[in-house]
């Protein structure tokens, strides 16, 4: 784990698709630094050779029958779209 938590908060915010003001960036960087220092508790234990747990009650290879079944109608699926044209969701132009 890194020694000091010098988070490049603007880079992380970009990855997370969040925009931060300079003030917010400083505020979050400080808070996250404190939290990450606490999380360093995990480095005090030897975890080599321990198998990771993704789920406490693991179930594997969950498949359903490959059969058509009822789902949301087009109208229902689009009912919450912020902008809609006919049966499609409208977004800003992406191809110049």
């Amino acid at each position: 784990m890194p020694e000091a938590h010098k988070i490049d908060i603007k880079h992380v915010a970009k990855l997370a698709r969040l925009s931060l003001t300079d003030e917010e960036a400083k505020h979050y960087a400080n808070q996250l630094d404190g939290i990450l220092t606490y999380i360093d508790t995990l480095t005090r234990y030897d975890l080599d050779g321990v198998a990771p747990t993704a789920h406490a009650m693991p179930v594997y290879d969950v498949l359903r029958a490959d059969e058509p079944r009822p789902g949301l109608t087009q109208d229902q699926a689009l009912s919450n779209a912020p902008k809609r044209i006919a049966d499609q969701i409208q977004i800003p132009q992406v191809i110049e």
């Binding site: 890194p2 969040l18 808070q31 606490y38 360093d40 508790t41 993704a54 406490a56």
Partner: protein, 473 residues
């Protein structure tokens, strides 16, 4: 005031023909209208829709005609589902029923009212809701706990007969403790998560918040069960949980983890829990000290896994298919970024940033994989302990309810309050919180919660111990 009654009592009244589902809905609505301005448990409630359902309720079913209030992160068709967030507050109407809601309806219950919560269930005071303040009905200057603070405040404040909450790191049990009602988080996989807006998928679980242990058992009977829409839902038999209650606990082994009985627990909380231990001993239970040696890792492990999973789950809120869309975005990237930045509140942003950082290139192994390994050790601790004892007992929360605003902007201090509840989610186990006394603070009696944790899928024993204790008080 029927909202102060229990499911069990009202079902008797309905079956005997003394009362109708319509009477109950109208009376609960009256209680909400009278009390919600003060307590703020509900964000919305649709009396007309509930009355329509009441009039066609099948009263022959076990929950027939009983209105159940729902945390505002579970989809109920035709109703809002805000998650306490601005990003879903304006224009989202659920197009389908969550699995747990389908189960409730199959039992005859009526989903009625939407309950406040910390935004996207991130928090333990409900102060992170973007949509309103919820107050603790036992002391209006204090928080109700969270994230299911609306659920606990509604039930404890007699604005609901019973409610659903969701629990990722204690979010059912801790508010139940702080408000003085019963809340149970079932074994991971017992209740479908389909239609529950995901926070941390490997930890989230829906459960009941009720006035009595019996009501918790009644609701669990219907909430549990396999759902093909949730691939982590377990294909296991659901026992009749009400059959577990009313039995004695002679010879039952109760473990007290030595790592839990530490400095930092409020003296009044400690005294109440010690009294509960003596009470359980007098009922014939055998009290044993046990060890959960990796307890110290719990909170740190959780605050890697939960934000990491949340950062991925909340990526879906991008202003495209549903939720808030920024009106000032010029291109698609700005639409994503502005919509999210305008829509999410500070705690959600904090956790998304934390999770994104820990999952980013170069840090994944150091944080995420390491935390998953620590999770194994925590889970193994419980497996070992449950070779010796039937249930594990602790306070639910180390302190009674804080004042509103007391832990504002000190996220780490707030996170550490979850020390007793978090390991239970990490290990996927069932845990209940029920009232075990009160602490007198500034002339108000603040409730203390007792947490009882059981083996995986052994909700029955958890309920049995909880009921025996509840009835002996």
């Amino acid at each position: 005031m029927l909202a102060s009654s229990t499911i069990a009592a009202l079902r008797k009244g309905i079956t005997a023909g003394e009362i109708t589902p319509r009477d109950i809905v109208l009376d609960v609505a009256k209680s909400i209208e009278a009390g919600n301005a003060e307590i703020g448990a509900y964000l919305s409630w649709d009396v007309e829709a509930a009355l329509a359902e009441a009039d066609r309720a099948d009263i022959t079913k076990p929950l027939g005609g009983i209105p159940i209030a729902v945390k505002d992160n579970m989809n109920v068709i035709g109703q809002p589902c805000t998650c306490g967030s601005r990003i879903l507050a304006e224009n989202y109407t659920a197009p389908y029923d969550a699995g747990a809601i389908q189960q409730l309806r199959a039992g005859g219950a009526i989903p009625f009212g939407r309950l406040n919560m910390d935004e996207f269930a991130m928090g333990s005071s409900t102060e992170n809701s973007a949509l309103g303040v919820t107050r603790n009905p036992r002391d209006l200057s204090r928080v109700p706990g969270g994230s299911s603070g609306g659920s606990a405040a509604a039930v404890a404040g007699d604005l609901a007969i019973a409610a659903l909450g969701s629990d990722t790191g204690g979010s059912i049990r801790q508010p139940a403790a702080l408000c003085g009602c019963v809340g149970i988080k079932p074994t991971y996989g017992r209740v479908s998560r389909y239609g529950l807006v995901a926070f941390a998928s490997s930890l989230d679980q829906i459960g009941p918040v009720t006035k009595t242990v019996e009501d918790a058992a009644l609701l669990l009977n219907h909430l549990c069960g396999h759902d093909a829409h949730d691939s982590t839902s377990l294909k296991v038999e659901v026992p009749d949980f009400t059959a577990a209650i009313g039995r004695d606990i002679k010879g039952l082994r109760i473990g007290l983890p030595k790592e839990y009985y530490i400095d930092g627990i409020h003296a009044g909380v400690s005294a109440s829990v010690q009294a509960a231990i003596r009470q359980l001993e007098s009922l014939g239970a055998i009290i044993e000290e046990i060890s959960l040696p990796h307890t110290e890792l719990g909170v740190a492990t959780y605050y890697v896994l939960a934000p990491a999973e949340a950062s991925a789950n909340l990526a879906r809120f991008d202003g495209v298919r549903y939720g808030h869309r920024s009106s000032i975005a010029g291109n698609l990237m700005e639409q994503y970024t502005f919509s999210r930045s305008e829509g999410f509140g500070p705690e959600v942003k904090r956790r998304i940033l934390l999770g994104t950082y820990m999952l980013s290139s170069g840090y994944y192994d150091a944080y995420y994989i390491r935390a998953q390994k620590a999770r194994t050790l925590i889970r193994n601790d419980f497996t070992e302990a449950f070779k010796k004892v039937d249930v594990i007992l602790s306070p639910t929360s180390p302190t009674p309810a804080h004042k509103l605003g007391e832990l504002k902007d000190n996220p780490l201090a707030a996170y550490l309050e979850d020390v007793f509840t978090i390991p239970v989610n990490l290990a996927g186990l069932p845990g209940i919180s029920l009232p075990c006394g009160a602490v007198e603070v500034e002339g108000k009696a603040l409730p203390v919660g007792l947490q009882i944790v059981g083996k995986a899928l052994d909700e029955a024993t958890v309920l049995r111990v909880a009921h025996a204790y509840e009835q002996s008080r």
